[in-house]
């Protein structure tokens, strides 16, 4: 996903990643993958809960909230235009597919007049 960061930018789209890990672990993750996009830390599950993704008991013997992997595509008005909820948490969404979807939804195109 991070390899395609530039492609997302070119479409005028921002990438935002969210997980329940702490800021520290995200800092090292961001260094490792060279991420320039925000990786948000949600240990309390604020956003994870708001998006209906809380996965209780995913990590045995802890009560750390774990998000069901999911991707939401939001348009400039903040409306959900596409969502991908994984059936299987081993498998993650591919960046290439999301880019194609953004183009199909009209990101990066001309703004409609009057908006």
């Amino acid at each position: 996903m991070q390899a395609l960061e530039g492609d997302f930018r070119a479409l005028g789209a921002e990438l935002v990643a969210v997980s329940s890990s702490g800021v520290e672990s995200h800092a090292s993750l961001a260094r490792r993958i060279g991420a320039g996009f925000p990786i948000l830390s949600d240990p309390e599950g604020q956003a994870i809960r708001a998006y209906g993704l809380l996965h209780p008991g995913a990590l045995p013997f802890t009560d750390v909230p774990v998000a069901r992997p999911a991707v939401f595509v939001l348009d400039p008005e903040g409306v959900v235009r596409a969502r991908h909820l994984t059936e299987n948490w081993r498998v993650r969404e591919r960046g290439e597919r999301l880019l194609a979807e953004l183009r199909r939804l009209g990101a990066g195109g001309r703004r409609e007049p009057g908006r």
Binding site: A30, I39, L54, V71, F72, G78, R81, N88, A107
Partner: protein, 139 residues
């Protein structure tokens, strides 16, 4: 009397089964394509278990001391069963997603610290397309 052939097969099966299971978890974060297609690892682990179990059976028939073969076969079976459970059952244990905002709904806002500890909110990005990726932490 020791059955060397049975011992060799038991060790080989044990090695294959354990390598198949360990490699799956060790390569997980590195090559997503391998992670998504776990079946070769499961198949290799199953073959390892079969080899070790056959060796155990052979040692029994030969009347040899067979504690080692039994251990190797059972341990292989346990790790292989764990991998299969993980791949085909545990990873499908997900909440229903009924609470997830539907297409066309307004995206719930949030305000959370980024990797540098700065609070970021979804509202900052209003006016742009946003791809929000919820990923599993801890790897």
């Amino acid at each position: 009397m020791k059955d060397r052939r049975a011992r060799r097969w038991a060790i080989a099966g044990f090695a294959v089964a354990n390598a198949a299971v360990a490699s799956y978890f060790l390569v997980l974060p590195r090559w997503p394509d391998l992670r998504d297609a776990a079946h070769p690892n499961v198949a290799a682990a199953a073959l390892g278990v079969l080899a070790a179990a056959a060796a155990w059976g052979r040692a029994r028939r030969a009347g040899a001391r067979r504690g080692t073969e039994a251990f190797l076969a059972l341990e292989s079976a346990c790790v292989a069963a764990f991998l299969a459970t993980y791949v085909y059952y545990l990873s499908y244990q997900l909440p229903q997603g009924a609470g997830a905002p539907a297409v066309g709904a307004r995206a719930p806002g949030f305000r959370l610290p980024d990797q540098e500890g700065r609070a970021r909110s979804l509202d900052e990005l209003r006016g742009r397309w946003v791809v929000v990726d919820f990923f599993r932490g801890h790897w």
